[in-house]
Symmetry: C2
Subunit: 341 residues, 2 copies
DNA sequence: ATGAAAGCGCTAACAG
DNA sequence: CTGTTAGCGCTTTCAT
C-alpha cells in the first residue's frame, strides 16, 4: 500500500515551500530551472500524483466535460461520442458520459449530478420524452457552457449542432417521388424532438408540392425496436391505397422493415421503395442496399467538442457560432431505385 | 448569474453552524427533524448545490468510476458500456469514459489522468498494442479496485470478466468441421490479446484433433477495417488448397468478407462456409445470415458494474469473484450450413 | 442535538 | 525567485 504523497511531503523533503513545489509542478515561469528539475525529480521518485479534488476546489474548475445522450449503444451515438472524446482528451479534458434512456426524469437527474460534479461544460442530446427544460437553468444561470447536438432545443446562448433536418426529410421524400412513388409512408420517432419533427415537415412539404400528402401515412413509433415491426407491416398491408414508398428515419429500423417486407412477399424496390436515415454501416449490408441520408456523426462529435472548448477558452471563432449546420447528403442505393422495365 | 451558495450561507441564514447544515444535508441521525427540514427548505429556496470537489477532498472518494476501452464506437463495446453505465448510475456513480484507440501510450495516459481524477475504481478493456502493465501499479499499489473485462490480463486481486474464448474458438471451428470444411482459414486481430489468442488456440485444437491444422491458414490483421479486405481475398484465392471455411473473430469484418467473396464469385455457404464472432445485429442482416458466437455484451457490462460496486462496498458475494466466466453460445445460421445436395 | 475547529491538498495574492 | 498565508467548501472529531 503506497502512501499518498502531497506537495507538503515534497516541500519538506526538499527544504522548500509548498508554494514552490506547486509552482514547479505547474511549470510556473518564475521558478528557476534548477528548483524545477529538483522538484520534478523528487516527484518522480516518490510517485507523487496531484490530487485533482484539491486542485479543482482551489481553481474552481474540473477539466471535465459532461455528456448526456439518450442511449449509448447505437452506431450513430457511439460514433459521435468517439469524436467528442477524441477532441476532449487531446485537450486534456475528461468526459463524464451518462445516458437518459429517453427518460425526462433520468435526464434531469443526470443534469443535476453532472452539475454537482462540477463539469466545466455540458453537451446534451435530448431524450425523446423531455418536454421541459428548466433543469438546464442551473447551467445557464451560472454561465456554464451548454451545448446541444442532434436532438436540440433553442436556449439563449446555447449553441446547437444539427443538420438541416427539414431539408433532409424533403430530400429523402423528393427522391422517392422522383423514383415514381405516389403513396409514401413515413415511419419515425416521437415528433416531440425537433430533429424528427423537422424531417416530418420536410416529408410533408415534398408531398404537398404534388398534392400527395396523406396524414394516414404517418406512423410514429415509441422506440425503434424490432417488436414494433409487426405494427408496421400491419399498417402497410391494411392501407387502402397500396404503399409504394417508405421513408424511415433510422437505418436500423429501415433494415428491419426491409427484412419483414421481403418475408411478407413484397419486392424491394419493385413494389415498395425504401429510404432510411443516418447511413449506418448496416445500410450497405442489407440486400438490397439501403438508400439513406448520410449523417456525419463523427464530425458532429468533433465539432461539438471543438465548439465547447472554444467557449471554455473564451476564444471567438467559427466553432463558437450559435448554430452549426452540418451538411447531410442523399445516398441512393438499390432499395429505392426505379426499376427499368 | 446566480451566486453559488455554500453551507456557510445556509448556516448564517438559519443561525446555525455549518456543521449542522452539513449533517442535515447528509441526513445524519443526530439532528432533530425540525432543524433538518428547516435546512432542507433553505437549501431548496436558495438553490444550494453541494460542491463535490470539497466533499470529495474531505471524504477522499469521488463516487466516480473510470473506464478505458479501446474504442467507443463498436456495437459490442457500446453495448457493454451501456450496461456498465446503467448499473453505475443506479448506484449513484458517475462514469468517466475514455478510449485508448488501441494505443499503449494513450492507455497509459488515460490510466494516469483517471487516477489523478480520483476515480474510486477502474474498469479496463486493454488496447491491442499494450504489452506492459506497470501503468496499472498506481491502482494496485493503493488497493483501488481494478477490473478487466473482455480484453484482460491477470494481475493479482484484479477480477476479470471474460467468456471462455478457447472454448468459443473451438466450438466455432468444430462446427465448421462438422459441416464438412477441411481447409479452414482463421482471420483474427493481433494475437497479443489473450481473448484473440485463446480463440486461436481453440481453433488450432479443433483442427489438430483431426490433423487439419495449417499455419498458413492463419491471417492476423492489425485492424478490422474494410481496407484490409483485399488482402483477405488475395490470400483466399492464392491458397493452393481451396479454402472451404472461414472463422472470423468479428462479425462486422465477417460481413465484409461475405460481401467481398460473393462479389468475387464464391458461393456461400456452398463454396466457403463462414462463422463470425459477437452476434452483432449485423449478422442477421447479411444474406446469407451469418453464423456466429453469441457474446453477451450487455450482461458483461452489468456484471462488470456490479462486481466493481461490490468491491467498493467491501461486500463478499458472487460478484466479487476473481474471475467471472460468461457463457457464450454457438449460433448457427445460413452462412455455415451444410448444403444438402 | 448542536457548535468549534482542524484538516483534506492545492493555488495564488502578497510580501520579501 | 521563493516563502507565508489565506482561502476553496465540506466533513468530522471532540466538546458541550
Amino acid at each position: 500500500m503506497e502512501k499518498k504523497v502531497t506537495i507538503y511531503d515534497l516541500a519538506k523533503r526538499l527544504g522548500v515551500s509548498p508554494a514552490t513545489v506547486s509552482r514547479s509542478l505547474n511549470d510556473h515561469p518564475s521558478i528557476s530551472l534548477k528548483t524545477k528539475s529538483k522538484v520534478m525529480l523528487a516527484a518522480e521518485e516518490t510517485g507523487y500524483r496531484i490530487n485533482k479534488f484539491a486542485s479543482n476546489l482551489s481553481l474552481q474548475k474540473s477539466n471535465t466535460i459532461g455528456v448526456i445522450v439518450p442511449k449509448l449503444n447505437s452506431d450513430f451515438m457511439s460514433t459521435v461520442l468517439s469524436g467528442i472524446e477524441k477532441i476532449a482528451n487531446d485537450a486534456g479534458y475528461n468526459l463524464i458520459i451518462s445516458q437518459s434512456l429517453e427518460s425526462e426524469e433520468k435526464e434531469k437527474f443526470n443534469t443535476k449530478t453532472l452539475f454537482e460534479s462540477g463539469v466545466d461544460a455540458l453537451l446534451v442530446s435530448l431524450a425523446n420524452e423531455t418536454k421541459t427544460y428548466d433543469h438546464f437553468n442551473t447551467f445557464t444561470n451560472r454561465k456554464i457552457p451548454l451545448l446541444f447536438f442532434d436532438r436540440v432545443i433553442n436556449i439563449p446562448d446555447c449553441p446547437t449542432i444539427i443538420i438541416d433536418n427539414l431539408r433532409a426529410g424533403y430530400d429523402a421524400t423528393k427522391h422517392l417521388l422522383d423514383q415514381g412513388c405516389r403513396n409514401i409512408m413515413h415511419i419515425t420517432h416521437g415528433l416531440n424532438r425537433s430533429a424528427y419533427y423537422q424531417r416530418y415537415v420536410g416529408y410533408k412539404k415534398a408531398l404537398d408540392e404534388v398534392k400527395l400528402f396523406e396524414i394516414e401515412n404517418l406512423l410514429v413509433l415509441d422506440q425503434f425496436n424490432s417488436r414494433e415491426i409487426d405494427s408496421v407491416i400491419a399498417k402497410i398491408t391494411a392501407s387502402p391505397e397500396p404503399i409504394d414508398g417508405l421513408f424511415v428515419t433510422n437505418d436500423t429500423f429501415a433494415v428491419y422493415c426491409i427484412k419483414a417486407l421481403l418475408k411478407a412477399g413484397y419486392r424491394i424496390p419493385d413494389d415498395i421503395k425504401i429510404i432510411g436515415f443516418n447511413n449506418d454501416p448496416v445500410s450497405e449490408v442489407i440486400n438490397p442496399e439501403l438508400s439513406t441520408i448520410e449523417y456525419p456523426g463523427y464530425r458532429m462529435g468533433v465539432l461539438a467538442g471543438q465548439s465547447i472548448l472554444s467557449h471554455l477558452n473564451g476564444s471567438i471563432n467559427i466553432e463558437s457560432a450559435d448554430q452549426i449546420l452540418l451538411k447531410h447528403q442523399l445516398i441512393i442505393r438499390q432499395s429505392s431505385r426505379k426499376t427499368t422495365n
